[in-house]
């Protein structure tokens, strides 16, 4: 288990404990206080790390029934189940009174703060691997049900544009053009001043940010690192973990009628052409790997996710043409273009369209 993930263990315990308290108070309205030693009934331990895997298994340590009332032991399992339900449903219809629901959902702010883009936590019944998948997006959704901002690990690249040395406050202008106030210890002052005094020197800032409903970082409340950015940092974005060539190749196995009576097997030569095209454009423009899908109409669809813009390219393999669509998330704004790869410059127009919109994220 990575050391930085250890706080997640404590945060998960706090979440289950808060849920158990809410459930207990809900089922015992006559009681003004919780039973003595209530919190001691929940202890979590790192059970093992599975062979050949980096997945740590966290379990509840059994309590001694003689020292702890049996019905309270059940209460913690009920709370774990409730947490699993909340994650599965996205927080809809928790079955808890409104005040309790707010208290429980607020605890998700501490749990999962360090989750990376491709990381998740599975909350499952004892002894089982299948359960509710908890990732950054689900966490965001749960917290935003009761509040307008949430806290999460941030990793931003930009230039320092202002500094208040007395208050340890800096202003980071990100490569997306946003200005983000950040609280950083004087330890980071030399790197910050270097960026402040020299145009074009990018720094990478990591820490805990406050993020709004729109997904924008409003401020960084705890800066854990300020360092000079690595080359190519300005191109960091989301992408498919499977190489584009392998994705296109996998579509060869789709038979006739794979979707409905009209859908046909793809031509192997056409797929080879597309794999080379997408691979070459990706290499030339340095954009992330798209997600590649078949379409019932016999086209190939490539999608590039983003936090601001999402880009979709539908390629007609017969005509060697593509429709390019960029969708501005959270709005009705759509931008479109059409390219013919049989004409000079078609590949460049595709690359430019993708990069321009992903850089707007």
């Amino acid at each position: 288990m990575p050391l930085e993930a250890l706080p997640e263990l404590a945060a998960y315990r706090d979440l289950v404990l808060a849920t158990a308290r809410a459930l207990y108070q809900n089922s015992h309205p006559e009681r003004q206080r919780l039973p003595k030693g209530f919190d001691n009934g929940l202890r979590l331990v790192l059970e093992r790390i599975e062979d050949g895997s980096t997945v740590p298994i966290i379990s509840r340590e059994p309590v001694i029934p003689m020292l702890f009332p049996f019905d309270l032991v059940d209460q913690f399992e009920n709370a774990r189940e409730k947490v699993q339900e909340l994650i599965s449903s996205g927080g809809i219809d928790s079955g808890l009174p409104a005040d309790s629901e707010r208290q429980v959902l607020a605890r998700f702010n501490a749990f999962g703060r360090s989750l990376g883009r491709d990381e998740s936590i599975t909350v499952a019944p004892p002894g089982k691997k299948e359960g509710a998948l908890y990732n950054r997006e689900i966490r965001r959704k749960l917290i935003l049900r009761t509040q307008t901002t949430y806290e999460a690990a941030v990793d931003l690249v930009g230039e320092i544009r202002a500094a208040d040395k007395d208050a340890d406050i800096f202003t980071l202008k990100t490569i997306d053009g946003d200005r983000v106030p950040m609280h950083a210890a004087s330890l980071f002052l030399p790197v910050a001043l270097r960026s402040l005094e020299n145009d074009g020197i990018l720094v990478r800032v990591r820490g805990t940010g406050v993020i709004g409903v729109d997904g924008n970082v409003q401020k960084i409340i705890n800066t854990t690192d300020v360092s000079l950015a690595e080359e190519g940092s300005e191109r960091v974005s989301l992408g498919c973990p499977t190489a584009v060539g392998d994705q296109v190749e996998s579509l060869r196995s789709l038979p006739d009628r794979w979707f409905d009576d009209d859908s046909r097997q793809y031509d192997a030569g056409a797929l080879e052409w597309l794999g080379k095209l997408l691979g070459a454009v990706q290499e030339a423009f340095g954009f992330p790997t798209p997600y590649v899908y078949p379409t019932p109409e016999g086209q190939i669809r490539a999608e590039w996710p983003g936090s601001g813009w999402e880009v979709i390219v539908n390629v007609d393999l017969q005509k060697k043409e593509a429709t390019l669509t960029a969708v501005k998330l959270g709005s009705d704004r759509v931008e479109e273009d059409h390219v013919a790869f049989t004409q000079a410059g078609g590949e460049s127009r595709l690359g430019k369209f993708v990069v321009e919109h992903l850089q707007g994220n």
């Binding site: 809809i92 899908y293 759509v334």
Partner: protein, 141 residues
């Protein structure tokens, strides 16, 4: 699917289950086209209502009773459709003309939208569903 629109749904918390073809999921991520009607759907995106069925029952109906492939049950809520200015109508299916009755059937109304608007709304619905994750079967890809 019936020709006439049924009653509009207005319970924002109601989930709308959508079955997604296995080829429409790549590395756990469904394509946006899974949340837009195909040409044959005539602007009506078929879904199943959570007040009348469950994610598991909807999956069973699709794969066992209708013998259609599905990667699993995903969902958006009525409220999320409403946020993207999409109306939802109940559309219970009966025998005949259908082979299998489905009282939980409903549709998200994409009728009259341009291709680009349809693409935009479908992409954003997919992102809502992605946040919620696959509801059945739970776990794995």
């Amino acid at each position: 699917m019936s020709d006439d629109s049924g009653q509009g749904l207005d319970d924002g918390d109601e989930l709308l289950f959508r079955q997604i073809h296995p080829s429409f999921v790549r590395d756990g991520r469904p394509t946006g086209q899974a949340f837009r009607p195909t040409k044959k759907d005539e602007g009506k995106l078929s879904v199943a209502r959570s007040t009348l069925t469950t994610a598991a029952q909807a999956f069973h109906m699709h794969t066992r009773l209708l013998s259609l492939p599905s990667h699993g049950t995903w969902a958006v809520s009525v409220q999320e459709c409403s946020q993207h200015e999409l109306k939802v109508f109940s559309d219970p299916l009966t025998v005949p003309p259908e082979k299998v009755a489905d009282p939980a059937h409903a549709f998200v109304d994409f009728r009259g939208l341009s291709n680009s608007r349809t693409e935009s709304k479908a992409t954003q619905l997919r992102n809502e569903a992605l946040v919620r994750g696959r509801l059945h079967p739970i776990g794995g890809e």
